[in-house]
């Protein structure tokens, strides 16, 4: 079972291997910089637990758990 972005603990970093989202979400993620090979870091969770803020290419993007689970990292 590969590690996904949603399992990344706060403060940890990883590199993107695959994005298994489809359609609109896939485009959106790739447009925002979530491209295979990119370094991603987990910054913090929302006070409600979801979404989570990730640092990618110098920008902070918040993703919901289901969507973050589509991004596999190593």
């Amino acid at each position: 079972m590969e590690k996904t972005l949603s399992s990344l603990p706060v403060g940890a970093e990883g590199r993107i291997s695959v994005i298994i989202a489809e359609g609109l979400m896939r485009r959106r993620l790739m447009d925002l910089g979530f491209v295979p090979g990119t370094k991603v870091g987990c910054l913090r969770h929302s006070p409600a637990g979801d979404p989570t803020a990730y640092l990618v290419r110098g920008t902070v993007i918040a993703l919901r758990k289901e969507d973050a689970a589509c991004v596999h990292i190593y």
Binding site: S17, M25, R28, L32, S46, A48, T59, V60, A62, R64
Partner: protein, 460 residues
């Protein structure tokens, strides 16, 4: 290149029928862009303190996040109420002073009574009420809100609230459109364009009405100050009123979430779409420039609206109050007709009528109500909002009337401008009608329940 190839292989292993060609195109574009950026862009080294991260750790933290949001909201209302007090009084003194001179002038030139009535007692007076009671809070709240927006805080509100919206099967960006609704519901409706899914966009549009817009705040503030503030020691007056208004806003947000959930489960079924939210770095807002520009802009905007909407409404109100059928004015006839419905929901006929006449612009509701009450002959020297209290009590107001007026103002139908915006944005008459009926029905039900429970237990 090796990494990309290996990830490409992994994708093949996953059997994902992705558009592999477009993926590789995107990846190579990014590589190219990175190469160029690495050569061309030079950084200033890491900044001394990452303020954004420090602030975010506090503002979106588990324990402090929500309380801080609440406190900020309350603070904004407190500043609005406190700051509007003195200007309100000054403007009122000035404008009503002029009214006396106007009346004297009319008498000197021997103008007919009805002309004096329409122009001075109707149009000018309503204008004076709107400008003195409604304008100052609006001119203060909007700039404060703009300041918060410019700071970059709004995405953090969406970040904190997204989970609640996800549970309501709505889009997280609805938190942002909801915030825009605080400024103006029509602007909030247009802001719903940022939501891609048509289903979720419609939900956001229909529920935008439940946050009070800039025009409804003065109504809430006025009633809260008059009744709630008057019930506590004068040092805590503003704080009490601010607390009440904050509570109402929270109620509005709760109703938004519940209605969104209900719509998602019935008329607008579907699964929540994905959401990406950018949290940009905080900006130091140009406080002076924003305050100056915003106050001036808002004042001009409200004044123009007052002239185009309040003045005619004032004329109509005066006419209705002074044209008699039988031995009652048309106004009294209407109020009597609406009285049973009004009483059932804890209001009275006049209040209901003021809300109906306030369809073009929410800020004229209280002025029309004042005018309607005064047409029965009550003389009013406007020193402060406290005078209004006597006027209302003389017309049968109780704490229940105050509470239900505020509830009705919060929940009732959207103003004409918003309805027009909804029609333009949705392109559908059906949804515009629903946008009108849904809040109205909810307002009636809520007020009915509150009123009947109070009557039943004999609390009033």
């Amino acid at each position: 290149m090796n990494q990309i190839n290996s990830s490409f292989d992994k994708r093949q292993q996953c059997n994902t029928p992705a558009a592999n060609v477009s993926d590789r195109v995107v990846e190579t574009i990014y590589q190219q862009a990175e190469r160029i950026a690495a050569r061309a862009v030079s950084g200033t080294g890491s900044p001394k303190t990452d303020w954004t991260r420090i602030l975010d750790n506090i503002l979106t933290s588990k324990f402090l996040g929500y309380p801080i949001m609440l406190a900020l909201l309350g603070l904004i209302f407190w500043l609005t109420i406190e700051g509007a007090n003195v200007p309100s009084g000054l403007i009122a003194d000035f404008l009503f002073g002029i009214e006396e001179h106007l009346s004297a002038a009319f008498m000197t030139i021997g103008a007919p009574g009805w002309l004096h009535g329409i122009l001075v007692l109707g149009m000018y007076k309503t204008l004076a009420w709107v400008v003195s009671v409604m304008l100052p809070p609006m001119a203060i709240f909007f700039p404060l809100f703009t300041l918060l927006e410019d700071l970059g805080y709004l995405p953090r509100i969406a970040f904190n609230f997204d989970n609640a919206f996800k549970k309501a099967k709505a889009c997280g960006k609805q938190a942002l459109t909801m915030c825009m609704g605080f400024g103006c519901n029509a602007a909030g409706v247009i802001a719903c364009r940022i939501i891609d899914s048509p289903r979720e966009r419609l939900i956001a549009t229909l529920t935008n009405n439940f946050v009070p817009c800039n025009g409804r705040f003065p109504t809430l503030i006025a009633v809260a100050t008059i009744f709630m503030g008057g019930a506590v020691a004068s040092t805590y007056e503003t704080a009490a009123a601010a607390a009440v208004v904050t509570g109402l806003v929270l109620l509005g947000i709760t109703v938004t979430l519940i209605t969104s959930w209900a719509l998602s489960s019935t008329m607008l079924q579907g699964e929540p779409s994905s959401m990406t939210l950018e949290l940009p770095p905080y900006r130091k807002p140009q406080v002076g420039a924003i305050l100056y520009r915003s106050i001036i802009d808002r004042t001009i905007f409200v004044l123009m609206r007052a002239v185009t909407v309040a003045v005619p409404a004032g004329a109509i109100t005066w006419l209705l109050a002074n044209i008699f059928i039988g031995n009652l004015s048309i106004l009294s006839h209407c109020a009597n007709f609406l009285a049973p419905i009004g009483h059932a929901i804890g209001l009275d006929g006049f209040i209901l009528m003021a809300f109906i006449l306030g369809l073009p612009a929410n800020e004229i509701v209280v002025p029309i109500l004042i005018m309607a009450y005064m047409s029965s002959g009550y003389m009013l020297e406007f020193e402060s909002l406290g005078e209004l209290r006597d006027l209302f009590i003389a017309n049968g107001w109780t704490w229940l009337t105050a509470v239900n007026t505020m509830l009705f103002s919060l929940l009732h139908w959207p103003c004409a401008t918003t309805l027009i915006s909804i029609k333009k944005e949705t392109g559908s008459s059906k949804w515009t009608w629903i946008a009108f009926l849904l809040p109205t029905i909810i307002a009636f039900i809520v007020c009915f329940l509150v009123a009947q429970t109070t009557y039943f237990f004999g609390w009033v």
